[in-house]
Structure formats: C-alpha cells, structure tokens
Amino acid sequence: MLKYLIPLLLFIIMAIFLAIGLSLKPNEIPSPLLNKPAPAFTAPKLQAPGQKLANADLLGKVWLLNVWASWCVSCRAEHPVLNQLAEQNAALMIGLNYKDDPANAQHWLESLGNPYSVSIMDQDGRIGLDWGVYGVPETFVMDKKGLVRYKHTGPVTANDVQAKFLPLLAQLQAEAP
C-alpha cells in the first residue's frame, strides 16, 4: 500500500509547488516601499517648468503617483482608464513623466487627455530610481500621512480600478490625516 502512496504523495507535493510557481508573477517585484514614507522629491512641473512640486506639498491628501512616458506603449493602453479614474475624483492624481522628452509629453496630454492634476518631470530617471521604478507604467497610492500604501506594476485596467483602486482610495480618504 505504502509503495503506491509514496509516489502519489510526491506527485501531490510537486503539483502544489508547480501550481505556486505558475501563479507567481516574476514581473511583479514586491515594493520595499510599502507602508513606508514616500521617497522625497522636488521636481519641475511639466506644464510649468518654472514651478516645482515637492511631495511635502501633498501631505494630508490621498494621492496617486502614476509613472508614465510618451515612449511607453502600455501607457497608451492605460491612458483611457486613468482618464476615467480622474473623473471619479477619488484622489489627487500626480503624473511622473519618466525619462521623456517634454515636447512629446505635452503633445501626448493634449491629444489623449490629461488625467493628472500635475505632472512632474524626471528626465534623467533619478526620481524613478528613488521610487524603485523598473518598468513603466507603475502606479503608487499614498495616504494622508504620506506613506506608500499600494503599488501597481504594469498598466492599470478598468478591472483593477473597480476591484482595487476605488475601494482602497475610499478607505484611505476615510482615514484621519
């Protein structure tokens, strides 16, 4: 009896490991920033390069940082979803225009719509490096205390907005500052 049980057990163990392996997403590296203060930045605004935005200005607000670039193909797929999310006024949406040409970026916002309250420029990618950005698009959610509460890697889909972003943003808006 044992003779038949052992291979069966081995098979089940192997199947469990393979199933875990299949469900892992190697492209989604867990961010070490979660529940830590958002990395500080002070950066020129895309549409008013004379002015700067610092993350300290955003304390007390629930905000979302979306890393985007006009050269990024998945950002184009994500853009209509962001436009829709912006209409819900669920949070302040800040764009981080990552390693992009400002003229191309401006053109992108004019032709596809601008979901962001402000976009800031990160032409040499240093802010991106501080935030652990490794693939565009990426989206971070910050609470009123300025802590990073969620990171989404890859394009945000309409489904993600309904299932993850809107409930989380509502929860964060309800928290005390």
Binding site: P26, I29, P30, S31, P32, L33, P39, K99, D124, G125, G128, L129, D130, W131, G132, Y134, G135
Partner: protein, 153 residues
C-alpha cells in the same frame, strides 16, 4: 560560408557588448564597481546583472553605483541603497532570512532527501543469490549429486 561569417560576426558583437566600462582613478573603486555591478540584478531583464545589461535602467543603476563610489560610499551603503528601493530581489546573492530560507536550504534538503531515498531503496532490495532459506545439508548433498550426475552423462 556566408552563414559562418555571420555567426563569427555575431560572436564578435557579443565581445564588443562588454558594455560601458568605466574608469576610476582609484583601483579599489574600480574593483568595487566591477564586483557590485556583477552582483546587482537588472530588474527589467531579470536574468542579467546590471554589468551585462544594455537596458536603460541598468545604465542608470551603473551610473548610481559609480557616483556613490566616487562620493566615497562603502559597498554596504550601496547595497542598502539598492535594496531600500528595489528589495532583496535586486541582489543576485540574497541575504539569509526567513523569506529566503527555502532558497538557501532547499537544494541541500533535496540532496538529503535523494540520499535518503537511495539508502531506503538499497536496504529494501532483496539479496539475489545468497538466499539459502529452506536448504538443509541433506538437500544440498542431493543437489550436488544430481549436478555431478548431469556432468558425467
């Protein structure tokens, strides 16, 4: 022939791709730079180190390593800087902790399991010839005499 030339050229292009070597005034920094860049993982192309990768992110990380070395930062400072931002995943040699325990102990555990399995199989294997249960001296004598008869006939 053309194909051979093509292959040769492709091989050469691999050599040329030893990317973006940087010069430091201080040989120790040079060594630290080379070690660090070959221990940090490029997060875009996950099976390459930042020394090997052509990705833009890898170039940024190389620049960061270089700048921090020139500022006199230590190896540990640089590794901490990277793991604070990208997590342990950025290291090709992750530290031993609860989360990475399986990674470190796993191979040895599987080796032990395999050895155990072999030992069990060997122990349970029935001896092939030495089984003399049920033979008495009388029977053996009879067998011998029968064999002898066979040889003489």
């Amino acid at each position: 022939m053309k194909a051979y030339i093509l292959i040769l050229l492709l091989c050469l292009s691999q050599l040329a791709a030893a990317i973006d070597s940087r010069q430091f005034a201080n040989p120790e920094q040079q060594k630290a730079y080379e070690e660090l860049t070959s221990e940090l993982r490029c997060l875009v192309c996950q099976n390459q180190t930042i020394a090997d990768s052509n990705a833009e992110l890898a170039a940024d990380l190389r620049r960061q390593v270089q700048e921090m070395l020139e500022q006199g930062k230590s190896r540990d400072d640089i590794v901490k800087f990277m793991t604070d931002r990208y997590g342990d995943f950025v290291l090709y040699k992750p530290p031993f902790k609860l989360k990475t325990g399986l990674l470190w102990v796993g191979p040895a555990a599987f080796l032990l399991l395999g050895l155990l399995a072999i030992a069990l199989v060997i122990r349970h294997k029935k001896p092939a010839v030495t089984d003399t249960t049920g033979t008495t001296p009388e029977k053996l004598a009879k067998i011998r005499s029968l064999l002898d008869e066979g040889e003489h006939s």
